[in-house]
Structure formats: C-alpha cells, structure tokens
C-alpha cells in the first residue's frame, strides 16, 4: 500500500508560483508600503567592481543619511541595487528588470559609458530620469532629456590632460598611451586634437587592451619616438601598471594620467618613487583641506566600509542628495523630477559644484594634481574648465 502524499503536486506548484510572485513583486509591495524605491545599476561583480564597489557603498550611505533626516518626500528611501557586471546586455536587462519590478521614479546608472549608451534607448522608452557617471561624450551627444551626468565628461578630461602637458608643463612632443575601448580611444583622439591645435606635436599614440599586463613595448615606442611627456588614459590598475613599468624601464618622462589612476585604490598600488613627475586629473580630492563636510564624508565612509572613499563613489552620494532635494519639492513624479534636475544650479556637493547644462551635464570642472614627493599624497595645482 503506498504512502499517502501529504502535499499534492498541485499544492507544491501553487506554493512555488506564489513564492516566485512574492519574490518578484516584493520590491513593488515594499515601495507601496511607504517607501520610495529608486534603482541603482552597479557593477557589483566582474572587472569593473573596484569602482562599482565605491558607489554601491556611497549610495548605501546616502540612503541611510537621507532616511536619518526624514527620508525623501516624507517617505523612506530604498535603493534597489542590480548588478550590471561589465556587460552591456546585462546592464540593459538589469535596467528593464528594475523598471518592471520596481517602477521607480528614478534610476542611478553605472559609471561606464558603454553601458550608459546601451541603456539610453530604454531610458527614453521608460521615461524615467537617470543620473549616470560614464564620461564618454557620445552619451551627452544624444541629448536625452532624461539623463543627467554627475561627473565631468571625458572631453573635459581630455582638455585637462592636454592643457597640463602643454601649458602646465611646457612640453611640445607628447606621446599618448591609452586603453583600447570607448573610453580610452575617444579620449586619446580628443586630447591629441587639443594638443595639435595648441601647436604641440603628437609623436605617437599607443593602445593596449584592458586585460593587458605588460605595456613595455608601447612605452618603449613612445620614448623612441622622442616624446618629452606622456599622457596616460587608463583605468586604475592598468594605469598603475603603466607607471610602474615606466619607472622600471627608466623612461624618465613626466606622465599626466587620467582620473582612474588618481583614486586611492590605484595610488596605493604605486610606490612613491614611481609617482615622481606624475600629474593627474581628477574630479576632486577628498582630502580634509576641502572642508569639514568632505572630511566627515571621507571619515564615515572609511569607518563603515574599511576602504578610502574616492570621487567615483562620492559623486553618487552627491547625486542622491540632489535627488532628495528635488523630490522633497516635487515628490515621486518622473517628469517633475526630470524638470527639477534640469534646474539644478550651484549645488555644492562633496565632490563638485553641480549645475545642469542643456546636455544634462552637471559638472563642469576638473582638478589637476601633482604628488607630494616621497608620498602618495596629492597636491592641488589648479582647476580646469572649458
């Protein structure tokens, strides 16, 4: 005689469907229960996770700070994170998932141009205002009214790199080494144009793949071509490798590096003597000399997350605070939030001063730094703006 089934297949299946439904729709239920949920597309895993970690943490901190101060529009803020890895298709699917499951009035996009570009058509379809931090000029060239950039665009970085090499250091024969992707290549091309227009010479432009670990051939070529200064457009780890190799090989030229190399996670990979004659551009340094608000942010970030804060993360914190300011006035209405973000003017954040222009760019200056000899500490030189 067979055992009596305590649970029928139909019951089990119904239970699974109910469970799946609750799991899928829990964010909606949560949002309906007195929270305002916003989406955040963050590379939590994969090769972009070093910077993704920064704004994962900074957005967590912003959420907690906002909720400790009354929330947003009278409700608690909930940031719903989705992992976008290093893939455009994953980024698009993550955005669609958040739109479908959460129906947020706002979404934070990732800091990678390639993912911002991939997601941009969906942002238009969904008509949800977004902040993003990818620097590629191609994004703001789309003139998407729903997208707002919270970092300096790469054209500004190229200007800063070129100006520091030529006007700042007085060099005339510039070699450019850059990561071969849609961040490095347009940046290198833009910098080379500015340099040539300024009367200096580009002696060589050498690329490397993002996964490369040995750029000695490229450095040797630029040195052999007669460069008197190098510009390096890279991310953090690969930029650190370039500086290490340049020192090892005795290249002996000043190097002006892009912002990814200036963040603490990258600088900590480089020995102080490898930072001699290195100049960098960065959104901002989060040092205590910037004032008590910045010092407090950096201190709390370090205490909570055990790593140094950098401007790739703090711009998202600023973005969240700007969002709070806007939503406190207009509530969770997507169009009103969009219009409120368009009207942002002279908002003084941790990282920068934010003013929205016609293309949705909210940051319009970069800082140039040198390195205090014998240390990894940055010394402010000047601000560059268009």
């Amino acid at each position: 005689m067979g055992k009596k089934r305590l649970i029928t297949r139909r019951t089990a299946l119904s239970g699974m469907v109910a469970g799946a439904g609750i799991t899928i729709y829990a964010p909606r239920l949560s949002a309906q229960s007195g929270e305002i949920a916003v989406g955040a597309m963050v590379p939590l895993t994969g090769p972009f996770n070093v910077s993704g970690q920064q704004y994962n943490f900074s957005l967590q901190m912003a959420q907690d700070d906002i909720n400790a101060n009354g929330g947003v529009a009278g409700k608690k803020l909930k940031v719903v994170f989705e992992d976008v890895k290093d893939s455009n298709s994953v980024a698009v699917n993550a955005f669609l998932k958040v739109v479908r499951d959460v129906n947020p009035p706002f979404v934070f996009q990732s800091s990678y141009t390639t993912q911002n570009l991939a997601t941009e058509p969906e942002v238009t379809k969904a008509q949800i205002p977004c902040m993003y931090a990818g620097g590629g000029d191609a994004v703001h060239f789309k003139k998407n009214p729903w997208m707002f950039r919270i970092r300096p665009y790469d054209g500004l970085q190229s200007l800063a790199l070129a100006k520091q090499a030529t006007d700042g250091l007085g060099k005339k024969k510039i070699g450019i080494i850059y990561v071969q992707n849609d961040f490095g290549q347009p940046g290198a091309v833009a910098a080379s144009k500015i340099i040539k227009d300024g009367g200096a010479e580009i002696v060589g432009m050498e690329a490397y793949a993002f996964t490369d670990n040995d750029m000695s051939a490229q450095l040797q070529k630029l040195k052999s071509a007669g460069a008197d200064c190098l510009i390096c457009i890279s991310y953090g780890k690969d930029g650190a490798l370039v500086l290490k190799l340049a020192k090892e090989m005795g290249i002996g030229l000043p190097v002006v590096v892009s912002s990814g190399v200036m963040v603490p996670a990258a600088r900590n990979l480089i020995a102080p003597d490898e930072l001699v004659n290195v100049y960098g551009v960065m959104d901002a340094d989060l040092g205590p000399e910037r004032g008590p608000a910045v010092a407090d942010y950096a201190k709390r970030f370090k205490e909570r997350f055990k790593i140094d804060a950098d401007p790739f993360g703090s711009c998202y914190y600023d973005g969240a605070m700007i969002l709070k300011q806007v939503m406190d006035k207009v509530g969770p209405d997507k169009e009103k939030i969009r219009d409120g973000l368009k009207a942002v003017k002279d908002y003084k954040g941790i990282t920068n001063v934010f003013t929205t222009d016609a293309d949705g760019n909210m940051v319009h200056s970069l800082a140039v730094f040198s390195v205090v000899p014998g240390t990894r500490d940055l010394k402010f030189i000047r601000t560059i703006s268009p």
Partner: protein
C-alpha cells in the same frame, strides 16, 4: 643588440614562461583525465591571492610564504579533484567541461568575497630592483620569473620522463584502462595530477603577482593565452606547451612593438587559428586519426 630588442625579448620570455606553466597545467589534467579544465585561470588567481595572504596579510618571510602558498595550492588541487572532478568524471566530456566553467565562476566570485575588489601589489623577493642587461633596464623580478619557471618546467620534465612515477602517469594518459589492468593506481595518479596542476598554476600566480598586481579578474586572460600556447605548441605535448608559451609571449611583445599595440592579442589568436587550420596538432603534437 638594441636596448629595445633586449627589453622585448626579456619581457616576452617572462610572460611566455608564465603561459608555459599554465599551459602545462592544462595539458597534464587533460592528458590524465581527458578534460580541459576551464577553471585553470581561477587556479592562477587563487594562487596569487594565497600568496597575498601569506606575504602581505600574514607578513610571513618569503622563504616561508611561498612554500606555504604552494602547499595550499596543492591542497586546492586535491579539493578540486574531490569536489568537482570526481563526482563528474563518469559524465560526458561536455558536462565536465561545463562544470569546470561554472565552478570557475564560483571560485572567482568566492575570491571577490574573500579578498575584495581592490587590487594588491605583492612584493617580489628582489623588491623593485632593476638590472642592466647590455644597456637595457630589466626588472630583476622578470629574470626571476624566467628562472623559476624554467626550473619548475625542468623538474616536471624530469618527473614525467625520467622517473617511474612519470612513466605511470604517461601510461594512464595513454590508456587508462590498460594502466588499471597493469596494476597502476589510476585514482592516486589523478590526485597527483591535480596536485601538480595546482602547484604549477599557483606558482604562475605567485610569480605574476609582483609583475601585474593581484586582482580577482586576472586569471582568465592568462589562461586564454596559455590555451593559445598549447594549441600552437601541441595540445598533448609538454615541450609544445613550453615552446608555445614562449612563442606567444614573444609574439605579444614583438607584435605590440612592430605591428600594432592595439591588436596584439588579435595577432596571437590569429596565429592560433592559422595553426588550427594548417597544422592542428601544433608544432610538437602528433597527428592522430581515427580509422573508420
């Protein structure tokens, strides 16, 4: 000889010898078990990060830290055999391969959770010393990488071709069933193979850490180039893995210097494809056909 040429040769040899070590790990596992272990890249990553733990986080002197890391990687090989390979070994080859791919992703994310996403810079036994080689500034660590890699390759070659244990390993690689019938402990030799693979990839990780920094995504690009190396050298050939690794390393450096720095990876894989088309057995491999 120009300084640039010397620089390229030494860099190519250093990079290529790492590819050779990893390629040998691929070959050993494949020959013994019939499986291409697509988690090999993550073995390199774990080897590097175990050295990060022993050298940086525990602060052990290098003469203790390195052997400790290699011992840990030997044990990692045993665990991988027991947990991943052994349960799947009687499944189809495709299942086992997919299993290694999947477990590679798990290992990579485990490394991310354990050590975080911020890269480390392990120190070299030679610090950041640079030596003058006919006027070219060469990193002492790069020379160390070449020397240690060739030492390990030499030891492995001696083990496989000059010892009775190696003869038994080759017997298992040739015909597992016949070896079993001859009284050879096939299971024990599988374990030994995975131990050696763990040590080889661990050594590769330890050697590249000071050169290329340690980060959790470092393994796959290295394994991909090592795979190209064994295709070029000959998939079942130990000398082939060595020569293939060196050729890939040199091709990378010279391709970047004289052809295109942007597309040097493409050049390497183009050479691999050409070999697959023209000489699929590789430089040292034997052509094997099946009779209808």
């Amino acid at each position: 000889m120009s300084q640039q040429l010397i620089q390229l040769i030494v860099s190519g040899l250093a990079v290529g010898s790492v590819y050779a070590l990893v390629g040998l790990a691929f070959i050993l596992v494949n020959e013994a078990t019939g499986v291409v272990n697509f988690a090999t890249g993550q073995f390199v990553t774990i080897g590097c990060f175990v050295a990060v733990t022993t050298v940086i986080q525990m602060g052990l002197p290098l003469f203790v830290a390195y052997p400790a890391a290699l011992l840990a990687m030997a044990m990692f090989g045993v665990v991988f055999y027991a947990v991943v390979f052994r349960p799947l070994q009687n499944r189809s080859v495709v299942t086992v391969i997919i299993g290694t791919v999947m477990i590679g992703i798990v290992i990579q994310n485990g490394a991310l959770m354990t050590w975080g996403s911020v890269p480390f810079r392990p120190r070299s036994p030679f610090g950041r010393q640079v030596v003058d080689v006919f006027g070219a500034a060469i990193s002492a660590h790069a020379l160390f990488v070449i020397a240690v890699s060739f030492l390990m390759i030499g030891l492995l070659y001696t083990l496989i071709y000059k010892t009775s244990l190696g003869a038994r390993m080759r017997a298992v690689a040739q015909d597992r069933d016949a070896a079993r019938l001859m009284g050879i402990g096939v299971g024990r030799l599988f374990v030994l193979t995975w131990i050696i693979a763990g040590v080889l990839t661990g050594a590769a990780g330890i050697l590249v850490g000071p050169m290329w920094f340690a980060d959790v995504n470092m393994g796959d690009p290295i394994a991909l180039k090592a795979f190209a190396a064994i295709i070029i050298g000959g998939f079942s050939s130990v000398p082939g893995a060595i020569v293939g690794g060196i050729l890939v390393g040199l091709a990378e450096m010279f391709g970047a210097a004289y052809i295109s720095s942007a597309y040097k990876d493409g050049l390497v894989f183009l050479v691999m494809i050409l070999f697959l088309l023209v000489r699929p057995q590789g430089i040292f491999g034997e052509r094997i056909g099946e009779r209808a």
